[in-house]
Subunit: 200 residues, 2 copies
């Protein structure tokens, strides 16, 4: 399997791993970039994992107003230093995530932030659907968990497929930025206003 220098370079940029580790991971993944990233992560060679615990007090607030001005988004993304906050990579991440929230309308940043009553309501609906379709009781739970998992992927920003490349999630995108910029990066919060929507 021949791995090109461009592939190695891309993988290195996305994970921050060493050149030789990137080459080996790509060979093992038979040239598949996404699989190579997983290989590196599993071995702890992607630097994103190591950075994840560090304190983030700097960063930027980003906004995105969709053409027509009927949808608007405000999002806070944190990193460790103002130096990184000012980099074009960080700014691009911010613009992309603001646009993501506008287009894909997540409810929360991550699973833990979903109010229990919303999860319970979803669970109840899936349960009734599964039962009314005549499924035996012993597999209903599995169906419910599967559907709930799908709901999380829609409702939580970090689990959503990235709107510009649905082969990666928002979490992948953030991890790639962490690896590339060498600092922990955290999506802290967002607000999404749609004109005239009901307020909770």
């Amino acid at each position: 399997m021949k791995i090109s220098a461009a592939q190695v370079k891309e993988l290195r940029e996305r994970t921050g791993a060493a050149m030789m580790d990137c080459k080996r991971a790509l060979e093992e993944a038979r040239g598949d970039m996404e699989k190579a990233i997983v290989v590196l992560r599993e071995r702890g060679l992607s630097s994103a994992a190591k950075k994840a615990g560090r304190a983030t007090k700097e960063g930027s607030i980003f906004s995105y107003i969709h053409p027509g001005a009927k949808i608007g988004v405000l999002i806070e993304i944190n990193c460790e230093t103002d130096f990184v906050a000012r980099t074009e990579d960080f700014q691009e991440l911010g613009r992309n995530l603001a646009m993501q929230v506008a287009a894909a309308a997540p409810l929360v940043v991550r699973r833990e932030e979903l109010p229990e009553e919303i999860v319970e309501k979803e669970r109840e609906i899936y349960r009734k659907q599964a039962l009314s379709s005549g499924n035996p009781e012993n597999i209903v739970d599995k169906i419910v968990e599967g559907k709930l998992e799908k709901f999380y992927h829609e409702a939580c920003l970090m689990e959503q497929p990235f709107i510009k490349n649905d082969k990666e999630t928002v979490e992948d995108l953030v991890k790639a930025a962490i690896a590339k910029l060498g600092e922990n990066i955290v999506v802290r919060r967002f607000a999404r206003f749609q004109l005239g929507e009901e307020l909770s």
Copy 2:
């Protein structure tokens, strides 16, 4: 008292009242623009009052990111038609109010939205201050109400002095836009993110 055509024009633009009513109001107010507006309002000749009850389902979402990107604001302003939402006057109002929220950090749009516990906490603090300064019990209530009123003027967007002209409140600014544009206009909600601030 000589009233200039420019003054009449300005008053007409700000209130939407008829030319002759504007002239008379200015004469009565001895050329004082702000007083003349009050005169027109009192007589129900300013069209802002009449428009205030009408349904607002259109409008725009505005954002403002303060230079440095450490403070960001998202604000929804409603009007009656998309036509008005697209006017330069409405857009200017939106830009001004987004900047106002960034600079003056209100807690809510209007008084009714302040949580009761916040108001009670303020009241309690003012009461203790007034008592510990040795004020007799019978005037403490008046002092507390006065300070609470001041608190409302700081905490509620509509009651804040406009950052670009502290002789008028944000409410005055919105009413002037209502009169000029001939539609009811409502500030529906805002979000203000300051980098790293504590989340409630």
